[in-house]
Amino acid sequence: MTEVLAQCGVGIGWRPEIAGFVAGLPGLRFTEVIAESVHPGHPPRLLAELRDRGVRVVPHGVRLSLGGAEPVAPERVARLAAVAETLDAPLVSEHVAFVRAGGLEAGHLLPVPRTRAALEALTDNIRRTCAELPVPLALEPIAALFDWPDAEYTEAEFLTELLERTDVHLLLDVANVYANARNRGQDPLDLLDRLPLERIAYCHVAGGRRHEGLYHDTHTDPVPAEVLDLVRELSARRRPPALLLERDGRYPPAAELRAELDAVAAAAGLPAIT
């Protein structure tokens, strides 16, 4: 697949609370913004300034519900497409997940069953979405604390089949891979070795914490050493074109955030951007 974020290296998710910090990163070449937080006609000024100085901005959707049995809402797709145009985005990303059903909003990304029916529903929704988008789509497998019963595919089989059918990119969240494997007593490397790594457009890296015996992918805690180790293992197999640190709250002092970005860069064998 063509590398849409070739040589973009390490980036960090753009959030209003850390907009000044992000703007001050000398080596920054790409960032990501929650698509639903951007008004298509009026992107935040500091984000528009990054775009104007050549930083690639990836809109990251969280509300399309591509994995829902219901057809994806055309107005949501249209809005995502408009945000991509506004930000001059090289691609957009979304999730292998659903967020609502029967009129109820979950308020979070929920896993789909690994069944043929879910694969068909996802495929239909991804095709509908790609038909309206001006740029390629990358799909992110999510972290989930529980599994659906009666899986007909392994996670690797399900994702590989989905990506092949729809010919979209993979947004691999290394922390999600770690969280899912740890909470199920599995080896995260088993999944890495079975995924089509050549489809990776970019990776997510995030922090989390242990609570009541489970690892929670919170995005509000430091990145644990185990996740950085997994970045190292992934990069040894096939270095991703770009990696993005996600932080969504309880923002640490700038020095800590810089150290975390440096640690991600070092683990991936990429230049520091700080």
């Binding site: 829902g68 049995a69 219901e70 057809p71 659903f98 609502r100 059903a101 029967g102 109820l104 909003e105 979950a106 308020g107 979070h108 929920l110 789909v112 069953p113 069944t115 043929r116 029916a117 879910a118 068909e120 529903a121 989930a144 604390l145 529980f146 599994d147 659906w148 019963p149 009666d150 009541e212 489970l214 929670h216 509000t220 709250g249």
Partner: protein
């Protein structure tokens, strides 16, 4: 499933679209998936029963994680409200929100604040009063901006609202 959505029928808004090949098996599987997803969301956010085959402990952990995430989002949208409960905010919000499907941080916080009017400190009461001055909200539908309003604000002053925006808070000379 039989051809309930056969040719000539217009699919209702939000209904599953029939397959072009008319394959009843595929439609049936899609409807079963829709029902299973609805049952899962209901179990996680609306106090519904745990659907069969799921691990109740893990669903419970996921449900509590969702409540904690909601509490954090509401705290960002309603900072004075969350601050008025101090370190017990997360627990108080979760106790109230359990079984209430999320309506977005703005309305979740609004509904919570209205249900706890008597417990709000002056800053939180002012935050709520300013929101109620700017927006008309019946507790059900989407809040709508007021075109023009004058509202007395707890802690002093009168808010002047034009098109949902706070223009000024007039202070009475003391």
């Amino acid at each position: 499933m039989t051809g309930r959505e056969g040719s000539g029928s217009v699919p209702e808004e939000g209904r599953i679209r029939p397959h072009a090949d008319g394959s009843g098996a595929v439609d049936g599987a899609r409807e079963a998936l829709a029902a299973a997803q609805e049952a899962l969301v209901a179990a996680l956010v609306a106090g519904g029963p745990v659907p069969s085959g799921f691990d109740p402990d893990l669903l419970g952990a996921a449900s509590r994680a969702l409540l904690s995430k909601r509490a954090g989002e509401v705290a960002r949208a309603w900072p004075a409200l969350a601050a008025s409960f101090g370190p017990r905010w997360g627990e108080r919000f979760a106790r109230w929100a359990e079984g209430r499907p999320p309506r977005g941080p703005w309305r979740d916080g609004w509904d919570f604040a209205r249900a706890h009017r008597d417990a709000l400190d002056p800053a939180a009461a002012r935050e709520l009063a300013l929101a109620e001055a700017r927006w008309r909200y019946d507790g059900n539908g989407e809040p709508r901006p007021r075109r023009f309003a004058l509202r007395r604000i707890p802690g002093g002053g009168v808010a002047v609202i034009v098109s949902g925006r706070l223009q000024t808070v007039l202070q009475r000379p003391s």
